[in-house]
Symmetry: C2
Amino acid sequence: MSKQILVIGAGRSSSALIDYLLKNAAAEEWFITVGDVSKQTVLAKTRQHPLSKAIAFNVDNAQQRESEIAKADMVVSLLPASMHYNVAKDCVHLKKHMATASYVSKEIGGLDAAARKSGLVLLNECGLDPGLDHMSAMKIIDHIKETGGTLTSFKSYCGGLVAPESNDNPWGYKFSWNPRNVVLAGQGTAQYVEDSKYKYIPYNRLFLQTDTIEIKGYGTFEGYANRDSLLYRTPYGLENIATLFRGTLRMKGYCRAWNAFVALGLTDDTYTISHSDNLTYCELIEAYLPKGKQPTKQKFAAFLQENVDSEVMQKLEWLGIFTDKQITLNNATPAQLLQQLLEEKWKLNTHDKDLVVMQHIFEFNDSKDQPKRIIADLVVKGEDQVNTAMAKTVGLPLAIAVKLILKNKLNTRGVIIPTLKELYEPILEELKSFQVVFNETLTDNS
Amino acid sequence: MSKQILVIGAGRSSSALIDYLLKNAAAEEWFITVGDVSKQTVLAKTRQHPLSKAIAFNVDNAQQRESEIAKADMVVSLLPASMHYNVAKDCVHLKKHMATASYVSKEIGGLDAAARKSGLVLLNECGLDPGLDHMSAMKIIDHIKETGGTLTSFKSYCGGLVAPESNDNPWGYKFSWNPRNVVLAGQGTAQYVEDSKYKYIPYNRLFLQTDTIEIKGYGTFEGYANRDSLLYRTPYGLENIATLFRGTLRMKGYCRAWNAFVALGLTDDTYTISHSDNLTYCELIEAYLPKGKQPTKQKFAAFLQENVDSEVMQKLEWLGIFTDKQITLNNATPAQLLQQLLEEKWKLNTHDKDLVVMQHIFEFNDSKDQPKRIIADLVVKGEDQVNTAMAKTVGLPLAIAVKLILKNKLNTRGVIIPTLKELYEPILEELKSFQVVFNETLTDNS
């Protein structure tokens, strides 16, 4: 009898996953049900494939959720992370495997014992970042350890960007994933460890304290610190490593310009602006600037200590924030108003190609105590607005993991992430056939 | 039969309130029960006064709370604001009046209908700020309106500081109230309205964007924007005023130096530092600074774009943060570590006098449409570490309000604040006999 796979969510990063499942459905004897609030959105992805069914699906409808999960052998949730928990509880209750590309939440983590007891896999963090970052890092970390080496430093950077040939705006950025996450990125204090000392970077200067990263053939990028790197010590088995840093990549010049919005206060999502639809974007900017008689653009430049025609000011001006452009969202937070503007300006156009870039830098002493360095790069280019590098690098690892689980190739049970060799080895191997390949370079480090 | 008053909490700002109640107890036929987690703390304040009783009181003990409230005619809560709600619920249930000096929370606000129905007063915001600010402002606002004037601008500043003769540290600051509130002050985004336009100042530059305020005989002070000034439009009846701003006062030079901690990230209370008791204060500072070979002090100065011997750096150095001073709190937030240091350095000594300063600036057109300005100043000096200006200006308004309520001089019922004339008139009048007097000056404003 064929295996039933239920995919919940057919948004931005679902295309490659759904394609993979459909292409393998006949050979693997799968039947794929895809549910989304919009059945039309599903049909655009499943295209009436005979081994697929599109359904309108409301994850908050407990009855529908349970009845669909009951029919499945395996559930893949591509919903926003906060919506996974009800699905996961049902999966445990109804004894179904589940896979997501999201971070393990505390609630999901709490299902570990129950999942193990029922012989279930609740796989998380199996997309790009988190996902491919774990797999590619663990492959090298395990190799270094197995060959008698000792890691001293691990830095890892990842970014979802736009390909050079589609880069036609001064920010070098277009949205290939959730715009809200981009606007709110970095709030809180970033934490990492450097030379065995804890280091902290608060949000107010996160985008000013960047590293420069070079990717062969693609030039230099900026990396800013990504949340709490210390969380990775235990899952990566690097409890005593002297330096551990994770960063997010942007094109050169992006961070300093983005910091203008942070400094102004426009990325705040904690309060709403009354009657915001009475304002123009220029008036919105003005509301955050000190009093003064200069025009808004000149005042903003003075506030930022920039020349009015500096690169930062050119980026800001290109967004149209110094014009009479009317705001249309009412009673919205500043972050929502900024997001609405950026979604229009940083839209990935029909034929635009996005770019996923990842780089790991490992420093270690080999078995002869010689200092060495491995740099592992990944660059994946999208095909167009729908078949993005982002959808490919999020969806394919997850889809391949689904195949491994349904073919019983995975022995571990419970709440897991793909730091396990039995997951990362076959997934990284199969990804090569999709041109998702890490380029690894070993050099002396003296 | 005598009236029973239950006072809950005998901390920092209770001395003047307890003194007032005891002094008036015989004449007013009151009996005062004061409860605190520490009975000793109570006894130090009630000093075995024959019309008083000291009890050890645990507000989380529902049985004790109910039985003590049941015996009272009126309850005064000086607990931290978050602890008022259980007391307030019991008061409504047991039909007792209640008074606090804290902001009306949503929960307390929700008791309004029930309190009215039972003919009860739940008075809040009847201390200094909130409290005296409401009363003194409303007195002038009502007067301007009653004489046919139209308010165009209202700015109000308040600070709990240290008296010039006790000011022996470069910050010009010592703690006369809750240190935690001082360390966390201003987090979020300040909001106000200026020339009929909304204005916003995020935390990252709140302490750099200050006003200068002059108080006759006391020189100039700095004022930084205090939370959401817009919240005061409705209670003050100033819905259409063009300019409304509330600020907090500090001695000159304080704000720029305090901003060093904000910029560094040391006022963050959202995460803990593992093994913080392994660090010295110098190592803590270092953990927030970019990598580099300079000594911490020089690096911090460079980070702040200050000369190493600037006023800001002198203030920082005076705190001892560049020394090997060991941190003793473990797994604490950066804000907690900063607070512990400051509590030691900014301690009000036995004979130190604190200083409460308030200034309102009203601009209005009078009945003949002539532009006028009223400036109202209040300066109150404390006597010593216990009998502080803070305790006096928080406790006396509250104590006088208690008297008015028990003497049935107040007609309004429900959840109220002292913007009502029947409260502010007698309270401000009686405060004069305690030398708590606003100095008002009317001038042309052209």
